[in-house]
Structure formats: C-alpha cells, structure tokens
C-alpha cells in the first residue's frame, strides 16, 4: 500500500516503529499496515490497540457512557516512534485523546498519525502525517467505513448517488453518506462496521 511505503520512507530505522491503532476503526487498518510493512521490508512492526474512550473530552456532555473497548499494548512506548492509526480523522479530538493516553504509557520519541480518510473540519491543531484519501464533506455528513478482506491496494470512493463502484473486490470500500446514517450494505468478511458521527 502506498501508505505503507510512505511510512517506510520517512522512518529512520523500522526497529523503533510501533503502530498503535485506535479502536474500532483503526484496528483493521493497523493490521493491514503491519502486513504490508512486513511484506515490504521483512520487519514485523508491533501493533498495539489503545482505546481512547476514557480520555474523551466530551464525556461530561453526553447523555450516556460510551462502551469501552479493549486496550492491548504489547510493547513499551518509551523511546519509540509511535504511529497512531485511525480510520477517519475529522475534528482531531480522538487523536488528541490518543496522545494523552500514550503519554500515560510512557515517553515516545515521536508521535505520528496515519489515517485512511481525512474529511476535514479540524477543531484542534492536529495534522495527519500519512493519509489515504482526503474527502471533503459537510460537517454533519457521516462517513461509513466498510472494510473488507485485507489485501487492499488503494482506497477508492464509491459515490452513493449511483456512480460506478471503482473499488476492486477485496479492497477497502469507503462510502460517504450525507445527512443521517443508513445501514451499510451487507458484505462478506465484514469487520464490525461502525458509524462515525460528526466530530470523530
């Protein structure tokens, strides 16, 4: 994948690289990246999963407590180049929460961000170092990410208004829906689909 290439190029030494995926959306992407990095370089980069729910800045204003997700950090983050992995970045608040969580785990030497989709509407000064695709959206659009079997090459966009599906079988399909969320179409080998609301 192109993103994997970019990560390899900008890293000085893959031995200190540590991918940390933010569940749920970042996890499948994280796994895909690890595989691609391994096939590109032969190096197995560790993958951590870091739930940021408890670090969210909007818990006080929500009506109910969001479900917590599993955190598994197999390696120490000290002195590592941590690359946070997210599927969709919008306001940047989840990445901010991810950084605060990372700091409680130790002291990385660098923190970078890889995201599949950047849909804009930043509220915090967060930049994405490696991005799959920029998709301009309205603030209240919903981006539904539908992940299929690994082996993805290049992210493609399927326009809901009936355009030609340009993704090949087995690739990542991204569907952009405006207004309210609908159910994503059924598909085999589905990772748990998640509806990201505005502000993700």
């Amino acid at each position: 994948m192109r993103m994997a290439h970019e990560i390899v190029e900008s890293a000085d030494g893959l031995d200190r690289l540590y991918l940390v995926a933010i569940p749920n959306g970042g996890v499948p992407l994280g796994r895909i990246l690890v595989e691609n990095l391994e096939s590109l370089t032969g190096v197995h980069v560790p993958l951590g999963i870091l739930d940021t729910t408890l670090y969210r800045d909007d818990l006080a204003i929500r009506g109910s407590r969001p479900q917590l997700r599993r955190t598994e950090m197999p390696s120490s983050v000290d002195d590592r180049v941590v690359v946070l992995v997210e599927d969709v970045v919008s306001t940047g608040r989840t990445i901010r929460a991810g950084m605060d969580a990372l700091m409680d785990f130790g002291r990385p030497s660098h923190v970078r961000v890889v995201a599949l989709i950047d849909r804009g509407h930043r509220e915090l000064p967060i930049k994405i170092d490696y991005v799959g695709k920029n998709i301009p959206t309205q603030y209240d659009d919903k981006v539904i990410l539908h992940v299929e079997v690994a082996d993805a090459d290049e992210a493609m966009i399927e326009n809901e208004a009936g355009g030609e599906p340009q993704a090949k079988v087995g690739e990542l399909r991204i569907v952009v829906r405006t207004g309210q969320a609908g159910r994503p179409p059924e598909s085999p080998h589905r990772e748990p689909a998640e509806t990201r609301e505005a502000g993700a």
Binding site: D51, L54, Y55, G63
Partner: protein, 306 residues
C-alpha cells in the same frame, strides 16, 4: 445509567449487569499499566459515606475513584451515641449541599441508602446496608466467576454461611440467578432466613449435598463475636459442619473454584490451606473489586442523562 442509584442487584436488569461487567473487564487493564490513572472523572467528587467501618470496601472505592482521577473524600461517621450523632436526615442534607457527583454509602441498617437517595441529587451507590444488599461485592464476584469459567449461565453456585444476616448472600443470589446460574445456600437452620426459597434458591442444612457438583463454592464470613451461642453453639462445631477444606471440597466439581468476600476466619469458614492457593480465587476477587468499582463509577457518576 448516568445519575442512576445503585441500591441493589434486585433492581438491576440482566443487561445492566452485563454492561457493568463488560466495562469492568476493560477497566482491569488499567490496573496493569504503570500509570494507573485515566482522566475520565477528573474534577468529579466522590464521597465515601461509611457509617459502618470497612477498610476493604472503602479503600477499594477510594482507589477506584482515584484511578479515574476523581477527588475522593472519606466521611467515616463514628458510631457514637445517638444524641451526639447528627441525624441521618441532616447528614444527607449537609452532603447534598456540598454537591458531590457520587456518594457511596455503607450502614448497618437496611434501607438507609434508599432514604439518602431520596434526598441526594447525586447518585448513591450502596456499599452495604444491613443484611439487605452489597451490589458491588456481588458484581465483582460475578466478574471473577466469568473470568474463571467463561460464562455464568448454567453454573451451579453454592453459598455457605450465615445467609440470614448476609447482604453479600442476597446480592449474589439475585445476581447469579439473573445471569442463569443455579444457586444453592447452605448453613445451619438458624442461619437460613425465613422462606429463602422464595428468592429462587435451594436451601440445604447438609454441606455435602449443597456442594455436590458445584462449580463455584462461596464461603461467607461468620461473625463469631456476634453470634456464638445464639445462632450456633461454637466455632468448633461450625467449622466441623460447614467449614470448607480439601476433603469436603471433593464433592464439588473437580475444577470448582472457592470464593470468599473477606476477611477470612482461617480455620472456621475455610481451612488454612484453602485460603491462599488455587482453587481459591480470593485475591482475584479483591483485584477485580477495584476494576468493578471503577466500572460502576464510570457508568453512574454524574447528574443524570440530559
């Protein structure tokens, strides 16, 4: 569940219990980190209002609150004479005026958390009221069993001891039956409360029959100071008839686990050798207590969904 009072397992649905247990499973991981703190309840105030002293439960709630970055305040109301003590109502009103985000209450008389919940705007978590309920204990017990056995549905759980005076027994009875286990209680007739079967359990006065084929054997603490001579003639006789040791445990399933809410009267409810090693999971219970109480605080602290 924000702002909801947790007064007993009797009022929780199966879904509520499962939500709390799942959240607790996530909270367990925080205890393994080096920095055992997340900022989730930063700036929130948790008041521990303990009318009855309790180092374990109070400390557990305190650590749970602090791991969530809450400000924890401990009010230990000494049991002085009624005339000097502030009345229950006044204590509640005073606390309410301090605007806490969650209040944890323990009292030796049943029903006190209910009365406090009527006055306090903050949610009230019952940390034990008389012989009525001790929901966080039962929840951590269920969490521990789930951890050890995978699931609770279909298990046989035997609770042994002074069921009549035990809030831990009642809460566990409600909890385990709601999650689909078969619950049995065992003890001398003087320690089995009136018509306990009405809670959906089988009552036994013979230990062997009670633990035959059990997956979980839970021994309760006997309050020797309070009851010797009244409910049972001597500690020696209790230990002989209802105390657990390896020999008696043979009648349970081979992979049965042994539990106890603590503190253990060694040689009375549990033989010395059973208190420390497998199949005893007592220390897991304690460890899970913090994660469970973190889960409760996470779900409940705050002023109600808006």
């Amino acid at each position: 569940m924000i702002g909801r009072d947790i007064l007993g397992i009797e009022d929780l649905s199966r879904e509520d219990i499962e939500t709390i247990l799942e959240t607790a499973e996530r909270m367990q991981e925080i205890g393994t980190r080096e920095v055992k703190k997340v900022p989730t309840l930063r700036g929130r105030t948790l008041i521990n209002l303990f009318f009855e002293p309790s180092t374990r439960t109070q400390t557990s709630f305190e650590i749970a609150g602090k791991r969530l970055a809450a400000d924890v305040v401990n009010f230990s109301v000494a049991d002085s004479s009624v005339s000097k003590r502030e009345s229950l109502l006044d204590t509640a009103k005073t606390l309410d005026a301090m605007d806490p985000d969650v209040v944890v209450v323990r009292h030796k008389v049943a029903g006190v958390p209910h009365r406090l919940a009527e006055v306090l705007k903050a949610p009230v978590i019952n940390a034990g009221d008389g012989a009525h309920e001790h929901p966080s204990q039962a929840l951590l017990d269920m969490l521990t069993v789930r951890e050890q056995k995978g699931q609770i549905e279909g298990l046989t759980v035997t609770i042994i001891g002074d069921i009549a005076h035990s809030r831990v027994a009642r809460s566990n009875i409600y909890g385990f039956t709601k999650l689909g286990a078969e619950v049995r209680v065992a003890g001398p007739p003087t320690m089995l409360p009136a018509q306990i079967e009405s809670l959906g359990v089988k009552a036994f006065t013979n230990l062997r029959d009670a633990i035959e084929g059990a997956d979980v054997v839970m021994a309760l603490r006997i309050q020797t100071e309070r009851l010797e001579g009244a409910c049972f003639p001597s500690v020696r006789e209790y230990a002989a008839t209802f105390g657990l040791d390896r020999a008696k445990l043979r009648f349970a399933k081979e992979d049965a686990i042994v539990m106890h809410p603590g503190p253990v009267n060694r040689g009375v409810e549990l033989a010395h050798e059973l208190a420390d090693n497998r199949p005893s999971v007592i220390l897991d219970q304690v460890r899970n207590g913090v994660a469970l109480r973190m889960a409760l605080l996470y779900q409940v602290a705050g002023r109600g969904g808006h």
